[in-house]
């Protein structure tokens, strides 16, 4: 059955992946250090790695980094949750009903044409500089990819499985729970993986436009005070945050989709 096509290609071995990642990271760090050391740029243009490390330690020990990271993480997670719930619900309805799809798809395509980044200032004006406007931006940015993956996942359930369930007189709820959810899960988690990274972008955009906390706010503070090392600290923390979320979804995939392949330890 074409079901096998949904399987993922075999992965590069984890250990060799770790090594190549480590090597390229070390090379980048060395390059950065060489440029900052010998290019003669002032620290507010390009701080040296050790200056950023010192700034990181300071932000960490005075507690400000934790506060702002926690603020961004909260927005990211709430936005991801809200966007995913809305997208999965609507996506399921679209997948199950052609009529509903024809009713809502023009609006969905239209909203997709709006660049969220461009209307972020509008959302901050309307809903204030607090957490709500950020969560909304995250949710909006997460919504579409998760919606599309839900529709694709639910529609891709092979018809013979539906025939089997109907021949056994399964109820709608049983078909949802025992067929559609597990069958669509791989594609859905793929959408969530993309959504998690997008949600971080959404939160930062919202914070840059207007807020009094969060890592995006920290970027603004650093820029305003010519404290470029602080900008670097905030950016690196954001990268770590996005990677952690990505890793979390990958971990979920490995736990929930053991049936797909034998993962390497």
């Amino acid at each position: 059955m074409d079901w096998k096509l949904l399987r993922k290609p075999p992965r590069t071995s984890r250990r060799s992946l770790h090594w190549t990642a480590f090597a390229s990271l070390a090379a980048a760090l060395l390059g950065w250090w060489l440029v900052s050391r010998f290019a003669g740029l002032p620290a507010f243009i390009l701080p040296a790695p050790e200056q950023v490390a010192v700034r990181f330690w300071k932000a960490l020990t005075d507690g400000s980094l934790l506060v702002h990271t926690a603020a961004t993480l909260t927005e990211v997670l709430l936005g991801l949750l809200a966007g995913t719930i809305a997208a999965v619900t609507l996506g399921y309805a679209i997948a199950k009903s052609r009529l509903f799809e024809q009713l809502v798809s023009p609006y969905l395509v239209a909203t997709q044409a709006i660049p969220i980044v461009a209307i972020a200032p509008l959302l901050v004006i309307w809903f204030g500089p607090g957490i709500f406007s950020k969560v909304l931006i995250c949710a909006l940015i997460v919504f579409f990819p998760v919606l599309v993956n839900t529709v694709v996942g639910v529609r891709a359930v092979p018809r013979p499985f539906h025939d089997l369930m109907h021949s056994l007189r399964a109820t709608r709820g049983q078909i949802l729970r025992m067929l559609e959810v597990p069958a669509a899960l791989p594609v859905l988690l793929g959408g969530l993986r993309v959504g998690a990274t997008l949600s971080v972008i959404g939160a930062v955009v919202g914070e840059l436009v207007g807020s009094d906390h969060g890592l995006g706010f920290l970027v603004n503070v650093g820029r305003g005070q010519y404290d470029t090392a602080l900008v670097f600290v905030a950016v690196f923390t954001l990268i770590a945050l996005a990677l952690a979320l990505y890793g979390l979804v990958s971990f979920l995939e490995r736990k929930l989709l053991v049936w797909q392949e034998t993962f390497e330890r």
């Binding site: 013979p160 025939d163 089997l164 049983q174 597990p182 989709l257």
Partner: protein, 246 residues
Amino acid sequence: MANPILTVHDMSITFPDRNGDLDALDTVSFSVQPREFVCVLGPSGSGKSTLLRILAGLLEPTSGSFTFAGGKPKIGMVFQQSNLMPWRTALENITLPLELQSVQADEAHARAQELIDLVGLQGFESSWPRDLSGGMAQRVAIARALIHDPDILLLDEPFGSLDALTRERMWTELSRIWQRRQKTVLMVTHSISESLFLADRVLVLTQRPGKVKLDLGVDLPRPRADEMRYTAHFGELARRLKEAIG
């Protein structure tokens, strides 16, 4: 004849199609006795799968009707592809029909274990479907079709995707299971030897639209063995089926 368990009366179905409607079945009538093994033989496209889908309640006939003795029957279905859910282990696939009926897990497992012994799958209970060979996957599918004690088994070319050797081994297995479990079976096939090896009766459907052209009793003694193929009587029955298919 005694009371049939299934009676099909003048059943026709037409699929609406852009370039003219497509008649798939044309006034099909037959009946099946309890514990009878009936094969439906026909060229591909003659509406065999459609017939099974109607009987399983997945499609409505355009006209005509069918009745099961005792109202809505419990159905056990096996498809050409094993149709196992890849996120369930072999055992979990077998217990699916019982889960749908909210049977307690330990009772479901006990019944599944019995069937695993019957179809010879000991040791593969916790295998994923991707790790099963075609023949083993079809055994799982047969066990799944039997576990909720169905009134009738509907088999749609269940061995069509297996290699010739495995297929013939599965005939013997299915024969044995059928005799052990005393089930009524309606099985679709396009293989003459398969139908003669398994069936009490063979219904031959014509090229589209499918119509019953021949209803042939198979009076070969059981258990049927491979050598049976070389007997004159087998040859005679095969010839009549071949003629009817055309």
